[in-house]
């Protein structure tokens, strides 16, 4: 017999007869083959890439806005939560159910509906994978830049829902900057079209932009129109290795101050470099602060910027400075950067990397100071390692905390560290989420940043009176004291 009680104590209580009724109605909406409720099936949907686990009641795979609308109407009738889910790569628990409910797996809505080069946009369904979209756009010489590390897996719908971005955000911006229009199914089932297929729009409230970053709490996105940009003529990479993270941070500030805006400017700390070298044998220089910088533009621009940035880096006394225009070598270097997250868990036996305080953003000029503060924290807590990396060029830093996840004491310490990390970040004028959103894991830290939660709650109450959509995310139903809830790891001590 399955024993799922420990992962379902916070699920809303629905008796068997009523659940069968809901399932049978869901089957009528999407067909029997797209509804799953076996214990083994809901178990696989009780997680995303965060630290949490909680079971849904049922999984449904819609294929149209109409089906989503009918599902939401049904959910309002039975007052059962609905959790939209893309690739489930959320690091903060966005796609993990908190009170059980219906998981909407959006992966069957995966069509690229229109690529319109003349008008500079593309229309996609939410389940299209970022890299798949860019492979298609590349045939026309265009791209949707942003560049999340999970680009080979994450979906456009998920990216829009958390306003995700990544390595190219410094020059090109985050997802929100590219969203022109969308089709959304509102929490009570109405289908709306918002925004326009124009590059400019000042037509009243920008509801489409509000939906970006709403983390599935305000509507289910069923179609997105994104602005696209041409792929630059040339690209090149600079690898600059520094003795300290502070030096790397200073180099970042100096490059930006000089008016140079690289396409990408990422940092890797020693722990993350060692992890990637171990996992992939890439041979990155093992220093405290490694910068990976990409410049793009015309051939002439690239050449000029390469040398200007190299000159700035030289003033910071780098241990190594390397420039590359070779596509294969560049891909190898960046593949290492993209694999930091999963590689960290193989760094040392007995400790694994977890996503708890993994994403924050500070003003660019504060990066050096903040990185140094993180280093001090790492020294303060023995037995816990903090891995630092991120898109530091735009002030976006990621920290990964490595510890023995089977021990409750480690978890408690990790929460204390996270509190200190986010205090440092907000004291330096930063935000607790640069590109991964809040979900549940980061909700406890909203208290350092937001004094507008009441506005957020008013919007939620107005649009989702029954709080059907993705409850307990973004602190809407109350800011939790800790993230130490519904841990998916086996805490044995």
């Amino acid at each position: 017999m399955s024993d799922l009680t420990q992962f379902s104590h916070d699920r809303i209580s629905i008796d068997k007869e009523k659940m069968n009724e809901i399932i049978s109605q869901l089957e009528k909406i999407v067909g029997k083959n797209d509804v799953a409720s076996d214990p083994s099936q809901i178990y696989a949907y009780s997680m995303d890439a965060s630290i949490h686990r909680e079971l849904p009641h049922v999984i449904v795979r819609p294929e149209s806005a109409q089906e989503v609308s009918e599902i939401l109407k049904l959910a309002n009738k039975y007052i059962i939560p609905v959790i939209p889910r893309g690739a489930g790569t959320s690091l903060s628990g966005h796609a993990t159910p908190w009170r059980g409910g219906i998981v909407l797996d959006m992966m069957k809505m995966n069509k690229i509906k229109e690529i319109n080069i003349q008008n500079l946009w593309v229309v996609v369904e939410p389940g299209v994978v970022f890299d798949d979209l860019n492979r298609e756009l590349a045939k026309y010489g265009f791209m949707f830049p942003t560049g999340p590390g999970s680009g080979d897996t994450c979906t456009i719908g998920g990216m829009v829902a958390v306003n995700a971005s990544g390595i190219r955000a410094l020059k090109y911006g985050a997802t929100r900057d590219f969203v022109l229009a969308m089709e959304v199914v509102m929490p009570t089932g109405e289908i709306i079209r918002t925004g326009s297929k124009t590059l400019k729009n000042s037509s009243g409230y920008q509801i489409a932009k509000l939906m970006v970053g709403s983390e599935g709490t305000l509507g289910v996105i069923t179609e997105i129109t994104l602005r696209i940009v041409p792929i630059p003529e040339a690209e090149a990479t600079i690898l600059a290795a520094f003795k300290t993270t502070k030096d790397a941070g200073k180099a970042i500030a100096a490059i930006v101050k000089a008016g140079l805006i690289p396409a990408k400017m990422d940092i890797m700390g020693l722990t993350t470099i060692q992890a990637v070298n171990k996992a992939y044998d890439i041979g990155l220089p093992e220093v405290q602060g490694l910068l990976l910088i990409d410049v793009d533009g015309t051939k002439e621009e690239v050449e000029r910027h390469l040398h200007e940035i190299a000159e700035i880096c030289k003033k910071m006394d780098p241990v190594e400075l390397k420039m590359s225009k070779d596509p294969e070598e560049r891909e190898r270097i960046w593949a290492g950067r993209k694999a930091v997250l999963p590689s960290l868990s193989r760094l040392r036996k007995g400790v694994v990397s977890v996503s708890i305080s993994e994403d924050m953003s500070v003003p660019i000029a504060e990066v050096a100071e903040v990185l140094d503060e993180f280093r001090k924290l790492s020294e303060k807590y023995k037995g816990i390692t903090i891995g630092v990396y991120g898109h530091a060029g735009d002030g976006n830093i990621h920290t990964k905390i490595l510890f023995d996840v089977t021990k409750m004491k480690s978890w408690k310490d990790s929460f204390k560290i996270s509190e200190e990390i986010y205090k440092v970040v907000t004291d330096h004028g930063g935000t607790v989420a640069g590109e991964h959103g809040i979900g549940f894991t980061k909700a406890p830290f909203l208290k350092y940043e937001h004094n507008d939660m009441w506005v957020i709650r008013k919007i939620k109450d107005a649009l989702d009176p029954n709080h059907i959509l993705n409850p307990m995310k973004i602190g809407i139903q109350g800011i939790p004291e800790t993230f130490l809830e519904k841990i998916r790891y086996p805490v044995r001590e």
Binding site: Y45, T89, Y280, S345
Partner: protein, 358 residues
């Protein structure tokens, strides 16, 4: 649950579960997930499930076993995983547990295993080998080559052209690999013992086989005491003696999962094909160790879920056609058979293609 396999492997399963960051990179490489689009058919979903069964959170039912049997065991997930999670091993452990627990397999897989037990051949056919030979290069043909003239004859012709002093061994003896994949290790070992007895008592100095699954079977059982090579490795050593010219130009070479990823043989088949005058191998991202399964899954998964197998084949063929291929060449009898299900492009084995050339 009576079976102790998962508990006995608790350290491995706990480690796999904990280091898996659920990053999802495995999803987009997994033919099973891409054909089904359910999280429980993804590699990370299967790791979660394995852990859940071991911990007693979920029951190993016929439905769960079917989901595990839907895995092609192609190992693409293992190859891409930055945390080196051996998803394939975890799945095989669950299959073994299911076997010990007496949980039924999908019907067509059950029929196959019954057929092999009765006939000692995957296809239930008799060997067509007419001339066994008496040399010291032992040729283990496997079920397909020993019963299909269109594969057997070009292979033998190639060996004769090169003057190989060979001996056909293991006639009417299946390597038992389908039992291994089904989790029936005892039956698998029984088949391997029968083969090992014949091989170890011969005067052979090397086993050569055209079947990549056969190589893995010998390796896993570890009962034969001489080296084993795939036919493409063996032929590549003598490629200078093979002078051919092809009428077909653009070739898509499909790296079989068990040859490329599991046995690590990727260069030799290419060397043989590139050695042919006029051949142009089409480059594709999904080749070598990152190759895409044909949809067969060692001739076993396709029986658990024919729709999944067909969807994978369709995806594969569509991509190959977009690449402009004029023919498909592979080095695995199961992949060969799978590709033969489409009728638009001609399909060859490596030595079959060489023999087709002038």
């Amino acid at each position: 649950m009576k079976s102790t396999i998962l508990k006995d492997n608790a350290e491995f399963i706990d480690d796999a579960f904990m280091v898996c960051s659920l990053c999802g990179k495995c999803r987009q490489t997994c033919p099973s997930y891409l054909a089904n689009l359910w999280e429980f058919t993804s590699p990370r979903g299967r790791i979660e499930t394995t852990f859940g069964i071991k911990e007693g959170h979920i029951e190993l039912t016929e439905r769960v076993n079917r989901t595990m049997q839907q895995c092609f065991t192609c190992g693409a997930c293992v190859e891409i995983c930055p945390a080196h999670v051996d998803v394939r091993k975890a799945i095989l452990l669950v299959r073994q547990t299911a076997f010990e627990e007496g949980i039924p397999l999908p019907e067509e897989q059950t029929k196959l295993l019954k057929r092999i037990k009765e006939t000692n051949n995957y296809y239930g056919k008799e060997s067509i080998v007419s001339e066994q030979g008496s040399g010291d290069i032992l040729i283990y043909l496997g079920c397909k080559y020993s019963t299909d003239k269109s594969l057997y004859e070009p292979l033998i012709k190639q060996l004769k052209e090169l003057g190989v002093n060979y001996k056909i061994i293991g006639q009417n003896k299946c390597c038992g690999f389908p039992f291994y994949l089904a989790g029936d290790i005892k039956e698998f070992e029984k088949h391997q013992e029968a083969l090992a007895e014949e091989i170890n008592n011969s005067n052979g100095k090397l086993i050569v086989t055209p079947c990549p699954e056969g190589i893995e079977a010998f390796k896993q059982a570890g009962k034969v005491n001489i080296d084993i090579k795939h036919i493409t490795e063996f032929l590549a050593e003598q490629k200078s003696k093979i002078k051919k010219k092809s009428g077909i130009k653009k070739i898509y070479y499909h790296d079989p999962c068990y040859l490329a990823r599991i046995a690590g043989v990727t260069e030799e088949p290419r060397q043989l094909l590139e050695n042919i005058d006029g051949v142009e191998l089409i480059p594709w991202k999904l080749n070598g160790k990152t190759s895409l399964c044909s949809g067969s899954g060692a001739g076993f998964t396709e029986l658990a879920d024919p729709e999944e197998a067909q969807a994978t084949l369709n995806r594969h063929i569509q991509a190959i056609k977009e690449l402009g291929a004029e023919a498909i060449v592979t080095a695995c009898p199961h992949a060969y058979e799978q590709f033969k299900k489409q009728k638009e492009l001609p399909v060859f084995t490596v030595e079959g293609f060489i023999q087709e050339c002038k």
